[in-house]
């Protein structure tokens, strides 16, 4: 998201020599995603120790997880990745309508995913304190939920700016970089879904 700031630097200092083809903001986002993956890695360590090492039954006895509804929810989130991609390709082709429509759709899909997830929490029928397994369940899905919220904020910024006429076929890094993050959030959810709900 620093794209703009880089652009500004050349008011005073000499232009920095570009020693790599990768753009700084993109590289920064990639590295940040490595950190994010590690955060999830740590939470999955907790999952591993409590489910596998401790031989605890999964899910905790007397609880059940709504694979089906969450499956549909997963589909919703994945489709948001597609609409986001559509938005990006549209602006690359200079199609502003595609950009706006795509971004709006992406944002709304993400929002509905979050809402459904919250509704699921309300109806799931057990609290984190019920058992270590339920702690892990809430921790992993909750951690991902936080990432969805951050992602939604980024998407909202991009959408606003899209409607304010920003971005063009030449310069669209401002939406490309948040886009990378959103795709990461989706991929991460597929992993969480399979490990927590499916297997």
């Amino acid at each position: 998201m620093e794209a703009a700031s880089i652009a500004h630097e050349h008011h005073g200092p000499p232009p920095a020599h570009r020693s790599s083809r990768v753009a700084a903001p993109t590289l920064g986002m990639m590295l940040f995603i490595i950190s994010e993956v590690m955060i999830f890695g740590a939470f999955f360590t907790a999952y591993f120790f409590i489910r596998v090492v401790n031989h605890n039954p999964w899910p905790a006895p007397g609880t059940s997880l709504p694979e089906a509804t969450t499956g549909i929810n997963t589909a919703i989130l994945i489709s948001s990745s597609l609409t986001l991609h559509w938005a990006l390709t549209s602006i690359k082709r200079g199609n502003r309508f595609g950009l706006k429509a795509g971004m709006t759709a992406t944002f709304l899909l993400g929002l509905s995913f979050l809402t459904i997830q919250i509704i699921e929490y309300i109806h799931i029928g057990f609290a984190p304190r019920y058992a270590a397994q339920s702690s892990v369940f809430y921790a992993l899905t909750g951690l991902h939920g936080c990432h969805v919220i951050i992602g939604l904020m980024l998407l909202l910024m991009v959408t606003i700016r899209a409607f304010r006429g920003h971005y063009s076929p030449e310069s669209h890094q401002g939406m490309e970089v948040p886009g990378i993050y959103w795709h990461f959030v989706d991929v991460m959810w597929i992993i969480v879904y399979t490990t927590v709900y499916v297997i």
Binding site: P14, A16, A23, L31, I39, A46, F49, S135, R161
Partner: protein, 643 residues
Amino acid sequence: MALSAKLRTPGWYRAALYDVLGFAFAFGLVVLVRWLMHQHPVIDGKAITIVALIAVPLAFLIGMGAADYWFYWAIGRPTRAEDHSAHGAHTWRDYFRVNTDHKVIGIQYTVSSFFFLFVGGLLAMLIRAQLAKPGMQFLTTEQYNGVFSVHASLLIFLFVIPVFAGLANFVLPLMIGAPDMAFPRLNALSFWLLPLAGLMMLASFLAPGGSFAAGWTAYAPLSTTMPLGQLFFTIAIQLAGASSIATALNFLVTIITMRAPGMSFFRMPLLVWANFSTSLLVVIATPFIAASQFLVLLDTSLHFHFFDAYVGAGKNGNVIMYQHVFWFYSHPAVYIMMLPGFGIISEILAVKARKPIFGYRMMAFSLLAIVVLGFTVWAHHMFVSGMAPWIRIPMMITTAIIAVPTGIKIFSWLATLWRGVLHMDTPMLFALGFLTMFTLGGISGVMLAMVPFDIHVSQTYFIVAHIHYVLFGGSLMTIFAGVYYWFPKMTGRMFDDRLGKWHFWTTFIFANLTFGPMHYLGMQGMPRRVAEYAVQFAGWNLFISLCSFALGASTLIFLYNVVASWRGGPRAAANPWRAMTLEWQVSSPPPIFNFDAVPTVVGGPYEYGIPGAVHGIFKPPVEAQKATAGATAFSTPPSQESH
């Protein structure tokens, strides 16, 4: 400026106002939630503290204006064109506001870290005073646990790690010929997170029930059953962690995308290599300590059961899991606290021995080897933890193997000294002191890797000895060396070399007298983290305490030297050490934007002893080629570009 205006423009006034709002928000939120959930009483001090500990620092950062730009940008409002009012320091006041100049940030980092060295050191003096005699002294056992926990946490998370980031912040962009860091605003943000983390740790002393007292390792379930103070650690770690991740990203991106023309990876000074490796460690490992503290926070505040393993309903958590997650960060962390020091030593030895670094490429590769191996040894802290026994064997082997790349570095430094022309001034003395003390600490580390021996000395003063030989004799020695070495560049003044030598000898002698005997105490069976010990250990403990006070006093020499020289020292030349690396080719202190034109790198950074050799020249690439047509023969070819 009218107060109302002051409250609207970024700065301390607005920060103060926002802090009040932040606290009000925390209070309101907690009360509202508890009211909605019909919990009584609606006003719960603990919950409010937790939310406030998160909300108030963030409010402060926004108030200081660390995020203004991004807000404008986010909502697509035209961002204030960069007038560089936020750049450079013209008066001392400029060090007390959000500043995007890497040189200013570097000094902000370094100075505030040293503040925490002195606080942490004073706490160490308390520790030693308490341990001077057997039997309880003036501290209660809780207070004592609190004191050494804060001592270690401050010195690790707010001194060693940030001070290295600070020094690198100042010199690294200069060294690679960049006008600034890649993300100047992120850079400012990651600095301003630190004082908040440090003050939070200190504030824990005021918390009811005293400061956090579970050691810097904060093992669960002890940390989850502690009074409120523990949460100050849990959350301060999040701030410090976020700060170091942000800085690491910044370094990596800067090094990869902003090197001057001709600065191939194998023409980078080893300090740049060192910070490159360190940043990799930070980016990959630091999320784990963040996560470990998240889990503790969830257990403490929301009654999750990650670490409750008492038999009973729902109490089927796993205690050892905390230690795995924690050490998967905290072992790499010890290299985060050493690799930048290795870089500093390489710079100093080459310049002060007037010789090229011996085996430059192996020096670079050994850094990367340490990074990789560093992730494969965490469980050597858990040999007696009751984890599955077989894990100890692979961990013993990988841990021992780490000595090989480290050894390569040590021996290459020795070879660099050999037949050189050694300028025995203060930075050099500290570098040599580091070589000897760190080797000793490293060897005791290799002994610890040997499981049966570790089983005997684990959790005893032998460990405390190892800690301080590597952290004091290793990290702190390199930090002193680096501060003296770059002092002329950072302040534009020369330090007093005679005082510097005094500082070195007192520090070197008393550090060894303080930490050496701890090996013996540990093997005799004196446990660490005890406020009171058996009479048989009395003699040595008294001796250690006395020496430690002298050691403390020795740092006062440093303090005086630095303050006096900064205010009234003789003006420093641009390149007092006749060094080749780029930061010495500009004035001291460097001009506000580092270079008028980005320099061109035509040779290796350490080509001492070669007539006419140059590292970089201030000409665009084309002329640079002509200018050095003769000299380029010796220069290492620009191989391994980072494309």
